[in-house]
Subunit: 495 residues, 2 copies
Amino acid sequence: MSNSAYESLCDRFREIDKLQHAITYLSWDQMVMMPPKGSETRSGSIAELAGLSHAKLTAPEVEIWLSEAESTGDNEVSIREMQRVWRNANCLPAELVKEQIVAGSKCEMGWRTQRAANDWKGFLKNFKPVVENSRREAALRQQASGAKTPYEAMLALHCHGDSEALIDSVFKKLREVLPDLLQRVLETQGSLQGSQRAEYPIENQIKLNKEMLTTLGFDFTAGRLDQSMHPFSTGSAGDSRITTRYETDSFMEALAGTAHEVGHASYESMLPEASRGLPVGESRNMCIHESQSLLFEKQIFYSKAFMHFLTEKVHSHLSTAACLSADDLWKLGIRVAPGKIRVEADEVTYPLHVMLRYEIESALINGEIEAEDIPDIWNEKMMSYLGIDTSDDYTNGCMQDIHWTDGAFGYFPSYTIGAVNAAQIFSCVKSEHSDWQEQFKRGDVGFVRDWLSKQIWSKGCELESQELMQSATGSVTRAESLIEHLEARYLRGEY
Amino acid sequence: MSNSAYESLCDRFREIDKLQHAITYLSWDQMVMMPPKGSETRSGSIAELAGLSHAKLTAPEVEIWLSEAESTGDNEVSIREMQRVWRNANCLPAELVKEQIVAGSKCEMGWRTQRAANDWKGFLKNFKPVVENSRREAALRQQASGAKTPYEAMLALHCHGDSEALIDSVFKKLREVLPDLLQRVLETQGSLQGSQRAEYPIENQIKLNKEMLTTLGFDFTAGRLDQSMHPFSTGSAGDSRITTRYETDSFMEALAGTAHEVGHASYESMLPEASRGLPVGESRNMCIHESQSLLFEKQIFYSKAFMHFLTEKVHSHLSTAACLSADDLWKLGIRVAPGKIRVEADEVTYPLHVMLRYEIESALINGEIEAEDIPDIWNEKMMSYLGIDTSDDYTNGCMQDIHWTDGAFGYFPSYTIGAVNAAQIFSCVKSEHSDWQEQFKRGDVGFVRDWLSKQIWSKGCELESQELMQSATGSVTRAESLIEHLEARYLRGEY
């Protein structure tokens, strides 16, 4: 008996998953282990695997299987997710994809030196073709997906299920509240007591970070912690790979980074086993993914109660941190200070950085502004949202991020929608566990993991993202969730 | 214009090479980095890649391209090597390959506990199907390749170009000379002066090994040194991966292992760039490969002159080794002591261990003996070659090696043919560089690398292995080369 169309699709997607596994760990190796001279051959191998994977997904039989499988009426949700992945892979002509890779890597390579040289004009020359390609991409994706605007079609790559309208409404609310909230925080937060500037040996920091990871539920028989230039998390169930960056004169950033990445890693590790290798078994979207990392970082790690627990461990591993009390560390962690750089921004100003990028990139992709217009709009918005002058400082202005250089438009919103989701989800966890602070003080976060596993991680792609938020928290994503959290922590000093 | 058949072949082999690249580094990761729970998914991914690679090699168009390309008369050597790789992949039915994998992994898994339990009977039950499968394989390979015996067809997988007749003649000579030479060495070598038993912190050993690697020409911008249970070398040009195993109470074994692996790594790194990714650009065979590792280990590392250079570095990294002089270290390194275990054997007794295995496995595959006969023959030969009684000690007798468990017959000879080749090659290097010992004393081995690069590494598979030995050393592999070396070092104490 021959396979049903659906079984053939499952086999095919599992084959693709095995190629993606290879790409995942080869890429990890490239960033964490590989010596510099291995670069060219490695890129060639990864490109070959990506090509094979793409060919397996776009082969003519897949379209036939999809329509056959759909017609049976079974496995509806699984097939919906297969369709989505298939459509994303099929709607661009190979020629455009190639052009994008060429223009994107030229722009990114140039950016590495142009950013440092504050060379906007040089960058703009490479950036304009990237924008043009992305506009073509957005138009084609809009056509294929029925998105309301070209930008929404790009958004769907990262934030599928969160419409431009929803994201717009969240930012609208944040725009009304945050600049004023920020002023109040700046007026009320006292001067900083302790300072963490001292010498902290990296081997001690590694031990501290590993101990914290274990506390946060990370399983070292199913994962690793290493170092890289930019912290990231990758891998899959059974083999999570987290990286952190250590500085010898501070330790909070590395800890916060590790806490952030373990949120990503936990989600990927705890996806539903039965549908492993199938689209429906994957993580939902980046807004949900980022909510998991931000929940571990902002809601758990930076809480007074967890910091209380952690302080003892900090003291035992880092003798030079003995002068810092739990309260010092907490205040250090939640210090608010507006600045030019997004990745260094605190929890209150970060959404403003993202909002600015969201407004610019959506207007750019929807054809309302041109690449040339970016610096002026950037400066104006930085002044209005954060009161910071970035004129003529492209390096720390509109050239600071890598995202746009290779056309990753539509990604930025996930940082802030993720932060809102994290606050909203954690507020539910808290309401069900009134002793949460006592548990955190003992280093017990198992109840949070259990909640997330049941409500989020085990769902994979069964629900669309806003259905998932609704089922987990009783509501779609609400900007108020983040605002309430920020007010409680930064104005009332509650946790 | 469409590609010529030869161009199509080149493209295809380069695609396969990119898949092999992925398998190489995923396997390295599996052995060096991967957490235990990643095992199952990783094996699945590697199997998928191996299957894709095999399918690309055995696809019908390849046979057509091969015969078309051959008929043009061009690129003769390159096509010869493509034919060889293609024939090796094509001559076994898929059903046999599958049976072999199943029986082989059952036997190997069982062996892990049976060896420790000295359970020959239990092992034999799993081992007999492995032998039967290998005999079928050998018969099919003989048919496809025109080898003179079934065993020669298996040999060709690892020692292609070195005939059973040549290997036989080498072992015949060694059999005549070595047992007697061993007795004379044992009678003349004095008692050992220094002992290396002390505490050597692993981080210091790592630094020492890395410094030695740099001395031996290893480029850390194109490679790494890590730790694993069993030292090995893998990777390709631009990205060599060497591993070593450290003990805290000794350091010479790790250094020797590192020196050995850098020989393998250097060969792989310095293969001809123009034919990278094609069979003709690969390393020749395991007899040549092992000659490179043994040249670095036995001829360079264990030489009096290099040990003289290294002693200062040992002292500077390992304070507890300060009591050991250069002469102590050299004598420690070349200590001869017959024992039951091959991997612990010294340079003089090692070939006898290999000879015994060669005699048994060739008779087994050629159908002259049965698996049941192995222990008796083993014991008899151990007594005759090394004067050691292994009766009833299967653990340290015929069950000590992993090789046969999954049917890797025909590999063992490469250890000793490699040792002979190493001695023969190095004797040429010495004859052209009469100041070799002065150079080694300064830690200068560049002249050896230059020689090897020109005569061996840059040749890839252009020449058959004995043509390569002839062109590099003026003669095919001669047992006398090893005997002369052993006599000079172990009887006359020359270097």
